[in-house]
């Protein structure tokens, strides 16, 4: 039996990257979560898998829209008509999957929950329990059905694996207990970075988010194909995401003019290119001469001629000071200034003014906790801008 496993689709949740300010890319990826899910169903049909398994968080609480539910049903019905049944559970984002409020999903689409925790497909028993609330602090594992003797048993669980029991609100479960439960395969959800665990003949798969939404989810973008034959389960990851995130770290301390910077940027950005999908690049630059604004402008110009690569964010940090170096007077005095309570008070007030003007969703960017790191960046930015002007 072959299974296509996915989780954490978060239908309707958009990609959060400044890279999408590019009009073509924005247009192409405006429905990235839906398009990726459609691609996932296409893959299941083309590969003629025996079942499509979705381990929770199909929807996103921040984007509650019954149209997404209609879309899900249309896609899963398409798979069912092509001979691919679906087994799924609710995660902590899946209020729209409440069968009591919204009804069943359709033939050959099996939502597992307390009332119906097991379904058998082609001689394999699938077991799963669903979230009934956004937060569940207890492990679901003790409530899972015992393995069916003489059959292969597959479990679906949405869990913050190895989270702190009683504190973690996402059904924390010990991976050791999970692997010793007696099932042959665990299809997991909730953690957006993919991984697999193997313990003897037991395999646990966390397929990861199929379409990463931001730089922090850059390890996602995959689904997992599992083969259940006579031996231990075998797995293989498939790339599915329409856009990936990549880090491009460049040391520009040796560059003394824009041409050299352009050359380094071009090499780095070209290296980030991946055939067949778009890539949003986060530039991490080491330089004491070129400021963030300039690097952003130069990278933007270069990317106009590199297909499939877009700029997510630029961060420029200064190289570490050489041992014994006489510090720049201005930098030294700015650092001394930071220790003045009056200065910190003024800086905090200034930060608060700006923070209060921001939309609530991004106000955390200027939290008081970030003041020290912002000040360190500020000193570096003054120095770099000043030196860049000196080099003009």
């Amino acid at each position: 039996m072959r299974l296509l496993i996915s989780a954490d689709i978060h239908l309707g949740s958009p990609i959060r990257s400044a890279a999408l300010r590019n009009p073509e890319l924005g247009e192409r990826l405006k429905q990235a979560s839906r398009d990726t899910f459609t691609g996932l169903v296409d893959l299941a049909i083309v590969e003629q898998v025996d079942a499509l398994v979705l381990a929770g968080d199909i929807f996103d609480n921040d984007h509650p829209d019954l149209k997404s539910r209609a879309f899900l049903i249309a896609q899963l019905s398409r798979a069912a008509e092509a001979g691919v049944p679906t087994v799924l559970i609710r995660g902590n984002h899946d209020a729209l999957l409440d069968h009591r409020a919204h009804g069943e999903l359709g033939p050959n689409i099996h939502l597992l929950h307390k009332g119906t925790p097991t379904v058998e497909i082609a001689g394999v028993a699938f077991h799963g329990l669903s979230f009934d609330a956004a937060h569940e602090t207890k492990s679901f594992l003790p409530d899972y059905p015992v393995p069916v003797p003489g059959k292969r048993n597959v479990g679906l669980m949405h869990t913050s694996l190895d989270g702190a029991a009683g504190h973690d609100p996402y059904a924390p479960c010990s991976s050791k207990d999970l692997m010793a439960n007696g099932y042959d395969l665990w299809c997991l959800g909730h953690i957006h970075a993919p991984f697999e665990k193997v313990s003897g003949p037991v395999l646990a798969v966390m397929p990861g988010i199929p379409q990463p939404r931001h730089f922090g989810e850059r390890s996602g973008g995959t689904v997992t194909m599992v083969t259940l034959a006579d031996g231990p389960p075998e797995f293989q990851r498939h790339d599915i995401g329409r856009m990936g995130f990549a880090e491009c770290a460049l040391d520009l301390t040796e560059c003394t003019n824009q041409q050299e910077v352009l050359r380094s940027l071009l090499d780095g950005l070209r290296a980030a290119r991946v055939d067949g999908r778009d890539t949003a690049v986060r530039l991490q630059v080491i330089s004491d001469r070129f400021a963030t604004e300039m690097i952003s402008e130069l990278a933007g110009e270069l990317l106009e001629n590199i297909d499939g690569v877009y700029l997510d964010k630029v961060k420029v940090v200064a190289p570490p000071a050489k041992p014994g170096a006489v510090p720049d007077d201005l930098v030294r005095l700015m650092q001394e200034e930071l220790d003045e309570s009056g200065f910190r008070l003024a800086a905090s007030e200034m930060l608060e003014d700006l923070r209060l003007a921001l939309p609530a969703e991004i106000a955390d960017e200027l939290d008081e906790d970030h003041l020290d790191s912002l000040l360190a960046e500020a000193i570096a930015e003054v120095s770099k801008t000043l030196h860049a002007r000196g080099a003009e």
Partner: protein
Amino acid sequence: MRLNRLDLIRYGRFKDAEIVLPKHGNGAADVTVIFGPNEAGKSTAFHGFMDLLFGFKGGAHPYAFKFERSDLLVGAELDLPGRGAVILRRNGKRSRSLLDAQDRPLEEAILGGALHGLDRDAYTERFSLNDESLRRGGERIAGAQGDLGQLLHAGVSGLTGIAATLDELSARADGFHKKHGRATWLKTGKDRLTEIGRELRADRLTIERERSLRRDRDRATAAFEEAAAALRQAHQRQAAAKAAQVWYGRSDELTRIDEALTAFPSGPDLPLNTSERVAGLVEKIANLEARLAEAAEDILRLDTAISENAADPLAEPLAAELARLEQLTIDGAPLMGRATTAQADLARRFDEIREQDRLIRDVLTKLSVSEEALSVLVLTPDALEDLNRATQDVLTARAAAKAAQDRLDTARKQMGEAPQEPQDLSALRAAHDAWQTVADLTSHETATDQAAARLTDAVAGLPATWKGLIEAGLPARETVDDVAREYLTLTAQLTSAENERESHAAELAEARAEREAQEAAPDTVDIASTQQARRTRDLTWKGHRAEMTDRSADAFEEAMYADDSARAHYQTGTEARQRLQAARSRERTAQARLDTAKARLDDIADRHGSLSERIASISRAIGLPEDSAASALAARHQTLTTAAAAAADLANAQAALKSRQARKAAALTALSEAAQQVGLDTDIANLPSHALKSLTLEDSHRQAWTKWQKAQETVAELDTEARQAGSERDEAERSLDSLTATLPLTDRSPAGLRSALPHLRALQQLHADRQKLSTRIEALERAISAMKDGAKRLCRILGTSEDEALTDPLRVIDDARARATAARRADEKRIEATERREAAISARDRAEANRNEAQSELNDCFSGQGASDLAPSDRVAQLVERDRQRAARATADKERKSARDSVDPELFIDELARLPDAVRATELEIEQKDAQDNRDAARDAQREAERIYKEAFDAADRSDLATEQATILEELRDGAHRAAVARLGVLAARGALRRLAAERRSSMLQDVEEAFVSMTAPAWTGVDVWSQDEGEKLVGIQPGGGSVPVEQMSTGTMGQLYFALRLAGYRAFARDPGPLPMVLDDIMETFDDTRARAALQLCAEIGKGGQAILFTHHAHLVELARDTIPGVGVVDMPA
């Protein structure tokens, strides 16, 4: 650091070129003018100097046009602090590119320390100046608006863009967000987010919205169902009216039919298809009558045929006898077939047996034996085969015995005489091998000589007591190294700590003086003093009001002025108080640093003393004076260690040589004993070589002996084979004799038998064929006898004479067969006629029964019906018409009942009661149409509600808006971050610049003023600092005391001010952390001679504290420098 010489070894157009910068003594300024025309390579030289200090940049090199980048090489002699003159080189490698004079890689730390951690860019910014940068710097410092901090920063760092930088950062922050800004990035973004949020909320199919849409849809559905029910009711009434109309019409029709039926015959309704059935029965009865007549004729004809074919009484016995004859067989074949040909075949077989007898006689004649011996000579095939095999075996065995005897004779001839048996020389060989391994002493003797030579070298510089020192035990090498390293470190730390203590003492004195100066300034009055002044004023006022005298008035006036002064100073003294606060803070810091430096110095001094004692102890142990330097310990320790190792090597080599000599003598003795045992002469002088000769010949002796032994074994094997072959030959001959002993042959030798064997095989074959012929003739004679016997029996059945059976039995048998065949044919015809007659009788009986049955059935068709006087066809026509009328009546009745039963009974009764009513149908039509219209409208409304509900799910997904929303938020997040960084940067930079002004003004302002006045006199007489709300500002002072803000100075003056700031910055750097070469590239080409002379004097000031290098292509500047700077060095650019 000082540059003594720049070596352009392979760099740019230069090859092995050098620029020597002469050192100056007697306190002269260290200034070197390097003269060269345009394109002489001044920029190349400066670039080469930078490459030497900081390494080559990656990528293409601008001066790699004559030499490949990998071949570029630049060098210099530098005076480095703490190291003195050092020659360095730099190649183009990416790592380990800094080399010494012998091209050995050096650590970058050698230069890093001397450059105080400056990188290439910082060095260029701070320690180089050309005409262009001087002019531009002058223009740019105008942007500082005279801000003292910014100007001093420009002087210190060489960077002039601080004002523009702060403006740029402020503009960046304001571009993102500014209070009440209408077109800021944040405002625009937030507006768009509001729009998107509104659209998304309107578009989103939430659970609540879905519930509302579902409610609308359900309401429309209910309205539709109600209208549909009304329409159904209208349809039902309309149908009831139609049914009542049908009932009304059909009732009239029933009355009319009942009247017509009275004219038809009575009786029940005819069964279905009675008319056709009656017609069929009439026709059937006529056909059956015709068939009865034909059957009677057939019966008569068949009775005649039976009588004509009566039965034969002899047929059965004849058939039985003929069958018996057919069953008889002779030798497995049917008798009749055999007997028919037997008589003709018998004569031919007798001829064949006679020919066989003749051939047998011929063979006996060839074998020369009589006919009586025939029975003995006819052998079986197996006996013939045994005789043939035995004959062949004798011949084969005789040949094999002869061949074996031949091989034996040949081997005996080839074996020859036996050689002498060899001796066992293994003991001799072992002894010789043992002697050989120890015979050569050369390597041991050489090793002993070499060890002795090494020992002599090792102890050459040691005192005579070196052996005693080694035997007493040397300290561990790690201990010696650790002590030496620690000593050097502590010595350096001691010097450093002393310098540090002095430095901090000076710092404390300076800080204390500054604090005292600040405390003396009136502006530093604090709030307590102002409050005290106010209280004093109030008290004197009270006193004055009480006294109202001149004294009290003066006192009050004084107190009032004091209070006003305190208030005024307090209000204007914010910065002065801050400076006082800072001065006190610096004094405390300096005091703490001094205390720390003293403690550290004491600690290091203690550790240094303790370590010196350990060094004295180690010196004694390795034979050095107790006051030896720590650096000498490791070398002496190494020498002693080497000497100890060499002495041990010599002793080992001598012992090894002696041991080898003893082993050689013992091996020779053992060899002599072994030689004696094998009979060699042991007295001869060269025993080892004789033993080796014997050992060498041993192999050939042993090979000859082995060969003879193998030949002897071969002869024995061949002898055995010859005996075996003779025995086999005798056995074969005995076997043949036993087989031929009884045969009456004349020659029974193997050759004679090989000739007789073909005849014996022919005789055996002829005899067998004759036996077969005899058997066949007997069988033929038995068949003829049996046939005649059968013929006799047939004659007895037929009653004829048996003689004919003996003469021609075949004809008798044929006649009997003909009689039996004729009887059988007559039986067949008679039987067939009988069967056909019985069939005809049966057919006649069936036709008769059928006719009777059809007549009965016809009668049944009219059972109970009237009009019996009519012919069946007419009668049935009357009855059919009657039944048709009856059926029309039933249909009309059924239709009216059906119409009534298909509608609502109440509505039916209601509508029937209205009949006849001509307008009722129209009324109902109008009612139904109204209901239909109502239903259609409700249906449309229901469909619309359903469509809206469905479209809500099918509506285009507005992920584009959500994506745009997320993108804008990410952009704003990034923008907010950058704006915060920019704004905080400006805030920090402005504070830092104020600090810089406070920190540097005392040390730099005087230098700035001196330099500025020196270059600009008499137009300018000094500089001053104004305190304003936005900070301190530098102004220029003109003769007469007038002041001019910096930004109002001419471009040239600002350039000279910038130069003055840079020179002051250089002097500040040279004081701490230390001087570096300052490179000035034709900065005075736009100066007039007076100003150029003044600038050169300032360069001399640089040269007093550090090193100034002036590149110029103006010869008059060279002369001017010679005139202005005593002892200035002038060198030409190399060709």
